[in-house]
């Protein structure tokens, strides 16, 4: 059996990835006859015997356990409707908020009002219903700072391996940054302009190699030198 190998190859929908029954189709792949084909535009990755494709573009698809940033758009009798820039709106039930809330005594708008931005965890996804939870320690409501939006497919690059990229940006700019898996980034304090410039570069050149080196160069040189 082969060991974990990373062959970053750009594949397009309908491309044949391998013609062998020894491999299994993973995410964004499908089998037809003996061959495995790609479903999406993305980078092919082989892990052991599983072949998968990491998409390079597309709308955010919610996954249980993801931290997302969203805006409260509506208040219902027992929860909030949150726009997380995904396919469907998410719902934050009262049970997802820390502490006990007596609905007969407190207005829900006192806790989260329409227009508030929250950082929440996706607790459940089934069909078109996405449930959020504020139970996670990282969850909070943003009252200050600014939000920028990047493509959700590029969030893993922005965070980097074990958070290396985001730590690099935090250390060099002094910003407090929260990244939502849905592609919305909150930042406050420090050199915000520089951080936004770096995020834009990451988004533009996400699929290129040696991105971390380039970003650290950006901080050292101070100027944004475009790679070929």
């Amino acid at each position: 059996m082969k060991e974990k190998q990373e062959s970053r190859k750009l594949v397009l929908p309908g491309d044949e990835l391998i013609n062998s029954m020894d491999y299994l189709p993973g995410k964004n792949c499908f089998r037809e006859g003996n061959s495995i084909f790609s479903k999406k535009l993305g980078l092919m990755q082989t892990t052991g015997r599983v072949i998968m494709v990491i998409p390079l573009s597309g709308v955010y698809m919610p996954k249980t356990g993801d931290m997302v940033i969203g805006e409260v758009t509506d208040i219902q009798s027992s929860g909030w409707v949150v726009d997380i820039k995904s396919v469907h709106d998410a719902y934050l039930p009262i049970s997802g908020v820390r502490g006990f809330i007596d609905t007969s005594k407190t207005e829900l708008s006192k806790i989260y009002d329409i227009g508030d931005t929250i950082y929440a965890k996706i607790s459940m996804v089934s069909g078109d219903s996405i449930h959020l939870s504020m139970q996670d320690v990282r969850s909070k409501k943003f009252t200050t700072g600014r939000l920028i939006r990047i493509s959700s497919a590029k969030v893993p690059r922005l965070i980097g391996k074990e958070g290396s990229m985001i730590r690099l940006v935090k250390d060099n700019t002094g910003c407090r940054i929260s990244v939502g898996q849905n592609g919305i980034v909150w930042l406050e304090g420090g050199n915000e302009e520089k951080a936004i410039e770096v995020f834009k570069t990451i988004e533009e050149e996400a699929q290129k190699d040696g991105l971390t080196d380039k970003i650290s160069k950006m901080f050292k040189g101070g100027k944004n030198e475009k790679t070929k």
């Binding site: 750009l10 929908p13 309908g14 573009s57 597309g58 709308v59 396919v87 699929q207 190699d209």
Partner: protein, 241 residues
């Protein structure tokens, strides 16, 4: 009668001339660019000769009006439109009988290539705008829309390619343009998925013999395969490492 057969013979032997000295099996110069509309989730521009179309894809997103949504799959909405200055004579903006028909036909041609069952209760919107029309707008629209769908990161079986072919004076010709279209007895636009060799759109204007139809479809399929390569190149250019 004798003169008729003579004229037919003549036309058979006479060398056919095409605009820009194109060969009968050659399509017009083709340019495909992916990612031209920043606001869309995916977009593409295709230029085939003078005919130019821009396609943008939005979604998958939630369905409005809500009663239209399907519990087990995504719905694909396709809108084809021509800008008023796209033709020689100003064409009235807004949906027409023709554009409504072409929208439906393009949507149906793209549907088999999309994994709609992966996106339940959603819709995928495809907007095709023809900037310049010089025949073959529906095929160019399909080419652009298909690249835009791939650019939008939607799960697909294959990239759909499309081209028309016809018959002029006993010669089978690929990609009829402008006056050729009027001179031809017939033309057949097809949309084709090269990997599975499946035809997703087949229309026919005029009348032909059964043999001719098969010959023309085979010619168009070969053209589609070449266009498919161009579409792939455009996507690699946009996303390449």
């Amino acid at each position: 009668m004798a003169s008729l057969t003579k004229s037919l013979k003549c036309s058979k032997e006479a060398k056919m001339k095409r605009p820009n000295n194109r060969k009968p099996t050659e399509f017009r110069p083709l340019t495909v660019v992916a990612g031209v509309v920043p606001n869309a989730d995916g977009s593409a521009m295709v230029k085939l000769g003078k005919t130019t179309a821009i396609a943008s894809v939005y979604g998958p997103r939630s369905v409005y009006p809500k009663w239209k949504r399907k519990a087990d799959r995504a719905i694909v909405n396709c809108t084809y439109s021509m800008v008023p200055f796209s033709t020689d004579e100003r064409c009235r903006p807004g949906p027409s009988r023709r554009s409504t028909e072409i929208s439906k036909v393009i949507g149906d041609a793209l549907l088999p290539s999309i994994f709609v069952e992966e996106y339940p209760k959603t819709m995928i919107d495809i907007y095709i705008v023809v900037i310049q029309a010089h025949s073959g707008t529906r095929t160019v629209g399909i080419n652009a829309a298909s690249v835009a769908l791939a650019d939008a990161g939607i799960s697909m079986r294959d990239i759909v390619s499309s081209v028309a072919a016809g018959k002029i004076d006993n010669t089978y010709v690929l990609d009829l343009e402008g006056k050729e279209e009027d001179a031809s007895k017939c033309d057949i636009p097809i949309a084709y998925m090269p990997r599975k060799k499946k035809i997703t759109l087949l229309q026919m204007d005029g009348d032909l013999s059964a043999k001719d139809v098969i010959e023309i479809i085979n010619l168009a399929r070969k053209g589609c395969e070449q266009i498919h390569e161009k579409q792939k190149e455009a996507l690699i250019k946009r996303w390449g490492i």
